[in-house]
Symmetry: C2
Subunit: 386 residues, 2 copies
């Protein structure tokens, strides 16, 4: 009946708890000599309670639970039985304290509500579950006080590593973490230090594909809506755009400075729409911008893709549900999350830290959907979507 183990790979719950829950008082009634402070101790069970009930030492309970192979199967069975019956769960706070490892990874994002992140958090969490880790999620909401707090919280909770997916973290904060020898992983901006991993995104590949796709659709007046200029990843995208245009002998029709928000996209479209000899295609530095562009185009009866082709960047989940579905450069969030998580795991398991940064590469690729079409002919035939 109680043959199943409560802990370890089998994730099943103890079958005994319901009985206990149903009214069976078990604290203090058969308390052994080891209980010198019954009243003050946890109202529930601890390792000593298990030990005394299974008539073994706490060390044996610990070993059993941690699957140390040298424990006598007989004893182990007795221990598991009690663990199972009492629904005992080891206190990971105590475990962390003694082991010095919290089994928690910090994940710092700029804003959880930014659709770029949920997919990342989800993948991170999946990996955490698989590896018996927890994730401590904090968002900086672009506020330097909040960034400080994020870092402080990570340090106080003694996380085993931090993925910094917020763009624009002050160096002093990074030093705080690095000083405490916490493994760190960054996107694009990782400093060359031990215990630091850096994920290098190949922006050029996807953006070149986007530009060439537009050119193939006979667009020649192609605009770009950039991200915030202080953001390294945004600059890289812009540069990739300019280079890709130059490669095929095209001049950017217009470069609007955006800010990676929907509102920025709206403003950008206003500017684009107002331009004489209006661009026929826009490449946006991220999908939120593209969403803003599309929304404002709709308000102005500018049809997409008939009058204007739009390409995004990131491929957030929503991109495919836009109307029309958004053609965009995919920067796979699950892949990014996996690389980040693995980088942290590698660092945690490494005995001797490396001399410097570890680099990881990630590619980007165009995903074709329905927000791009042949460039409108100048006052001759009209190309509608059907």
């Amino acid at each position: 009946m109680h043959a199943e183990c409560t802990l370890g790979s089998s994730a099943s719950f103890p079958s005994g708890v319901c009985g206990i829950y149903a009214g069976h008082r078990f604290v203090g009634e058969t308390y052994s000599h080891e209980c010198y402070h019954a009243g003050l101790r946890s109202q529930l069970m601890d390792i000593r309670e298990i030990a005394s009930r299974a008539k073994v030492s706490t060390a044996t309970v610990s070993r059993t639970i941690n699957r140390v192979p040298t424990v006598d199967p007989q004893l182990a069975k007795r221990v598991w039985k009690v663990v199972d019956e009492l629904g005992y769960y080891p206190n990971s706070v105590a475990r962390s304290l003694v082991s010095g490892r919290s089994r928690v990874f910090g994940l710092i994002v700029s804003e959880i509500t930014n659709p770029f992140f949920p997919e990342i958090v989800q993948t991170f969490e999946n990996l955490a579950v698989q590896n018996n880790y927890e994730i401590l999620l904090t968002s900086t909401v672009y506020d330097s006080k909040r960034m400080e707090l994020s870092v402080r919280r990570m340090i106080e909770r003694r996380v085993d590593g931090v993925a910094i997916l917020t763009f624009g973290m002050e160096d002093s904060l990074i030093e705080h973490l690095h000083f405490r020898k916490v493994p760190l992983v960054f996107v694009d901006v990782g400093p060359n230090l031990p215990r630091v991993s850096n994920i290098c995104i190949n922006y050029k590949n996807g953006i070149r594909q986007a530009v060439q796709h537009l050119a193939a659709l006979r667009h020649t007046r192609i605009a770009f809506v950039s991200g915030p200029p202080h953001l390294k990843s945004a600059l890289a995208r812009r540069r990739a755009f300019e280079e890709s245009m130059e490669e095929i002998g095209l001049d950017p029709a217009l470069i609007v400075v955006g800010d990676h928000t929907v509102e920025g996209g709206i403003r950008a479209l206003v500017e684009i729409a107002g331009k004489r000899n209006r661009p026929t295609a826009v490449l946006c530095s991220n999908d939120m911008t593209a969403i803003g562009v599309m929304g404002e185009a709709y308000q102005r009866d500018l049809e997409i893709p008939r009058h204007l082709s739009v390409v995004g960047f990131d491929d957030i989940r929503l991109a495919q549900f836009m109307i029309p579905p958004l053609t965009t450069v995919q920067m796979s969030q699950p892949e990014l999350a996996k690389i980040a998580f693995d980088a942290l795991m590698n660092e945690v398991e490494r005995d001797e830290p490396l001399r410097g940064r570890t680099d990881y590469q990630m590619n980007t690729n165009l995903v074709l959907r329905q927000s791009t079409a042949l460039a409108p002919q100048r006052a001759t035939t009209r190309h509608s979507k059907s």
Copy 2:
């Protein structure tokens, strides 16, 4: 120079760390008699290190840091100075162990990538920061194994409370938490037990508004796309729809069983579009469904709102960025998160648990945007959006 305090309400970082970081070795060099194990101890500072440097006892350091008012200002200043210089951060793992309170709230959601949740997580995190809490986020991804794991993780980490925002949690898991006296908060489905809070959503109000809005636009053939039938909150929405229709003497034109996903919305539109005497308006049980409906309508050249009015439910952030912006019933996610967080805080701070459940109420309201319009006239004048 080091006048600022490192800890407490002032969130500023110690100014001394950079110097230390820049090469000043401080472990072991002035280690006092209290250091009996320098090599094995934390490579960084702990409370004893602070104590010995400030020439006070660890108790005094602890009291200072915790702002116990009885400490001598002279001593306190000395302590703060050292804390500041060394960039000491108390180890909250140890704190949790001794205090028995982890200052972590669990947050169980069904899927982080479901756009309904990010806003909730963000608000929860904001409140957590304000109250010196951490959040332990887990997602069940509709998998019972993962649900078990979620609960197990919460218990092992000794969370101080759990907000269960996943719909359809098995009773046995809830018992596990409740058995360990963990405060719990639910939406709609909270059992009547001590330390349980329940947030009752008034679905009817918003849905009635939606129905009356459509009726006022002269829609008479109104369809409803439901959520998964096993979901209590989805059933409540459906019932609210039926009642609201009945109130004004209308029969539902069609009720399609959906599943709260975009794909379900797509299927629903296929069914709606294929019906002879097609409904002119659809009310969807959530926004994801509405997005699916709109997407598929686009694919079929069914214009929204000209040919079909669409209303969603939830008012996820994206709703306003859809094309056209989606008219929807708002169920404020920030408000929900705040109620949930406060409920947990109230429970944690309560000395004696109440006899039974605590109830909280939350309303819903229609938000008008552009996905609804006058019902198309039967083969007479056409109402276009301009």
